[in-house]
């Protein structure tokens, strides 16, 4: 399967990335290679094999409905690139992509 520029643009939009000019061709070629590599898996016969989702056999791992506050307000905000004393701050987002 060949990756089209259109596909790259759609993926870039979903990932909030931008590729123009040379960068566009480079990422498009890289994606081509990645997909080609993954396509080798098509050679494996998976007839009757259940997809593997979980790494353990555990089921029903539930917790009781009990409140526990693990971190402080200050700790919560510590790693934020932009913040004030109350809030995380982000560049203004207009409701456009939810």
């Amino acid at each position: 399967m060949k990756i089209s520029e259109e596909k790259v643009r759609a993926l870039a939009q979903l990932a909030r990335l931008e590729f123009e000019g040379e960068a566009m061709e480079q990422i498009r070629a890289d994606l081509d290679n990645i997909v080609a590599m993954c396509e080798q898996l098509n050679a494996v016969d998976t007839e009757g094999v259940e997809p593997l989702i979980y790494m353990t056999d555990a089921v029903n791992v539930l917790r009781d409905d009990v409140v526990h506050q693990d971190i402080s307000h200050e700790e919560a905000l510590r790693n934020a690139p932009a913040k004030d004393s109350d809030y995380f701050r982000v560049s203004k987002v207009i409701d456009q992509n939810k």
Binding site: M55, L62, D65, V66, A76, R89
Partner: protein, 481 residues
Amino acid sequence: MSVAYEAVIGLEIHVQLITQSKAFCADSTAYGALPNTQVSPISLGHPGTLPRHNRSAVDYALKMGLALGCNITKENHYSRKNYFYADLPKGYQITQFNTPICEGGGVNIRLKDGSRKTVQLIRIHMEEDTGKSMHDQDPRDSLIDYNRAGTPLIEVVTAPDIRTGEEAYAFVTEIRRLVRYLDICDGNMEEGSLRCDANVSIRPIGTSTFGTKVEVKNMNSISNVRRAIDHEIERQRGILDAGGAVAGETRGFNALNGTTFSMRSKEMVNDYRYFPEPDLPPLILSDQYIAAVHKLMPELPETLFNRFTAELGLSEYDAGVLTDDKATAAYFLEVVKHTANYKSAANWVTVHIRGYLNEHAVGIDDFPLSGKRIADLIALIDSGQVSNSAAAQKLFPAMISHDGKSPLELAESLNLLQTGDADLIESIADEVLASLPQKVEEYRQGKTGLLGLFVGETMKRSKGKADPRKVNEVLLKKLGA
């Protein structure tokens, strides 16, 4: 010539569950806390954290499904719904995509004209809420509060069965009543604990294909759901009548002027790239587990409604008012434990007690009199010892301000007891008839409607203390003689 259209409406209702802690971590879900104080590495989406599902959230979702007659999914998996938005710190929402915990089922609604309808459900699935963004507090930045991030939700999705704003109104009302009965959500639309989106399209009556659908959001009260849908139907009709085409888009509702406005077009189709959530092991619900949850459920409003109308012989109106909320229904049930006069019990609860509650702006939980006391009052009226009007106007208020005294004691001290004393009634009746010889003559000529006059006059002369049924009886006997 204009075409007749019908609307095709499906609703998506997000129900915020009133668990103590969040869906997948132990942060509190309390409303109104200082921003970003009820968060954790899990709800903030830090790498390397592992979610664990809240058992109560599962139980609440189950209760909703059982109440609505859904098929319960035994093997549940979770999925990631991927999108970027600042109020979603992980970059994906944990939801149930392929295996909603409930499928099918339906909600029975009653409409104003007395007709009934069942709105079929497609599914109910469990998911988590996002944080809250504020766009208008700062000129440059949006401010984000993650206290709500990860709060458990269920989303109820209906089939496109709804045809009018009124039906949507009845549906959301029923859902709100039910979640309150089940005690799984506070049902507060203004605070966003219950949120409703509507998919609205119209088509010429008689056709079976769907028109272009518009998603309407921002309806923060049940009456706004009706207003927004009614407006949207008219808007689409106007476009089609003018030869135009409805654009598929998301529109918001402006409650100030009752119109909808375009929020965003759907040209850019979302691609959520759902895939299985490997961090949460499957949830397997055994028949025993489901049965155990079922046992914890209260009697549902519809069951109560049917019982009140069929077994107790109440009117649909009374049954509707009594089952409007669980506390009122419980109070009524307490009254009828002690009296067999169901009609009178309904009347006391729906008229006098509700009147008192409205006047004092309190809930029935704060009403000072027990159901037993009201039943005692009814017994006092039924035995003819106190008249209805004396009970409503004097005795009932006195009982409220002198809680602890029995209705009989109070009626005695207020001098409200009626006399069944036949001699006294006879002598007053004789007086009355003697004072109105002409009316008595007319009565005997066949103008029997005059009986009310004699009864009223006798009651008046007894200062309201004569038992009206006895008065009636005595007068009939005398007039017949």
